[in-house]
Amino acid sequence: MTPSVIAGLLGAALVGLGLYGLILHPHPLRKLLAFNLIGSGVFLVFGIVARRGAAAGLRFDPVPQAMIITGIVVAFAASAVAVALILRLSAVGRRVTLDPEVPTRPDGGDAK
């Protein structure tokens, strides 16, 4: 088992864990954490791709590594926007949940 294989399996495990959390946790902040777990799992997959691509005197392929750095920044920005939305939601006194509310208005939609 080389480090890259271990890291690959680790990445897959993190994706799986994250998916589970993302599907099931009712709280949006927990979902966000889960999303970040999936994200780091994906970056690990990039990471082993970079590691496997060691060649020509380099111990890694620099292109995927550059992509990871870009990806981490983007993921962070996404988390920040999501956190801002969650905080704002709780500030306006709304139950913080993602599932649709029970419609308050009766549905008048009686098709022709």
Partner: protein
């Protein structure tokens, strides 16, 4: 052979365990803390993958700034009553979700083990390009980020600006123009102030150093900028510095400086070097450093603003 493979396996198991804790913890705050620890552990994995640049980024962002962001948010949400805790998912759904997640992870494992051998790689091209007429930088990652995939990098900085605007946009209408508030502490702690005053200058120096050496060694604009950002956040937490108003002109200029300079130089490349985003070979390194300097500024301004949140929110008690 050596102990290293066992260490790797232990590290991986530890990471999985912490990740599991993050998902499974009952308490929101506990899981946030778990996530911060997870970010730091992951940095070690990156080092084992010979990815020091990524390790630095992961430590600074994954562990550091994201940690502050989530802990602040977790603290504020933890005290609130209106967080849906009652709606635990049913057993059937948990089972389905578990099976599906396991299936996806399993498929992914299989596919990762199936990746072709010998692996395709752009490392030779990158090395050749660095030594050739390309960027003339010692750190191939910086070369890729700033030269070959400069377009991605510029877009990523645009994403940061948009994220800042997005974070600001959720504020209340009448608060617009004010400063974001969550860092403001009513009575600054003496040790915190001391720490900020001592740490900040050192941190700033280290940050600038990381950016400067990034041209040839691990490090670069993002890692350096992230450290500067952390220092600014520390000073704001300590009350030594005040968060700026969102309509402050200098803040806006600092935020856009990186992409703006990048864009102007990219355009100028069309005239001077014959192609947009091309650098004259002799001047490639100085130009890249010049752009990166502004990038550092933008990143140092953007990250704290992302953590600080929208203007005018009152801190909870």
């Amino acid at each position: 052979m050596s102990l290293l493979p066992y260490l790797d396996i232990c590290l991986a198991l530890l990471v999985v365990a912490v990740a599991f804790w993050t998902i499974a913890a009952r308490d929101l705050f506990a899981s946030v803390v778990g996530y911060v620890a997870y970010g730091l552990l992951l940095a070690f994995v990156w080092i084992r993958l010979y990815a020091p640049d990524v390790a630095l980024t992961e430590a600074a962002v994954g562990g550091g700034v994201t940690g502050v962001l989530l802990i602040t948010a977790g603290k504020r949400l933890g005290g609130l009553r209106n967080v849906g805790q009652g709606e635990r998912p049913g057993f059937g759904l948990s089972l389905v979700a578990g099976v599906l997640a396991a299936a996806v992870a399993g498929a992914l494992c299989a596919v990762i083990l199936m990746l072709p051998d010998p692996p395709p790689s752009l490392a030779p091209e990158a090395v050749a390009a660095i030594h050739g007429a390309g960027a003339g930088l010692g750190n191939p990652i910086t070369a890729v980020l700033m030269s070959y995939r400069s377009f991605d990098t510029m877009l990523e900085k645009m994403v940061l600006i948009l994220a800042v605007v997005g974070v600001w946009s959720v504020g209340a209408d009448n608060a617009w123009g004010g400063a974001p508030a969550p860092f403001r502490v009513s009575k600054p702690d003496a040790p915190m102030v001391f720490l900020a005053q001592m740490l900040a200058p050192v941190g700033v120096l280290i940050g600038i150093h990381i950016f400067w050496v990034g041209a040839d060694e691990p490090g670069g604009a993002f890692q350096g900028g992230a450290l500067l950002a952390a220092m600014w956040m520390v000073t704001m937490m300590a009350g030594v510095a005040q968060p700026p108003r969102v309509d402050a002109r200098w803040l806006r200029v600092a935020l856009v400086a990186g992409p703006a300079v990048f864009l102007v130089i990219g355009l100028a490349g069309g005239v001077v070097a014959g192609s947009f985003f091309a650098y004259p070979p002799a001047l490639a390194k100085p130009i890249i450093l010049f752009i990166e300097a502004f990038m550092v500024l933008s990143i140092a301004a953007a990250l704290p603003m992302l953590v600080a949140g929208s203007p005018g929110e009152r801190p909870d008690r």
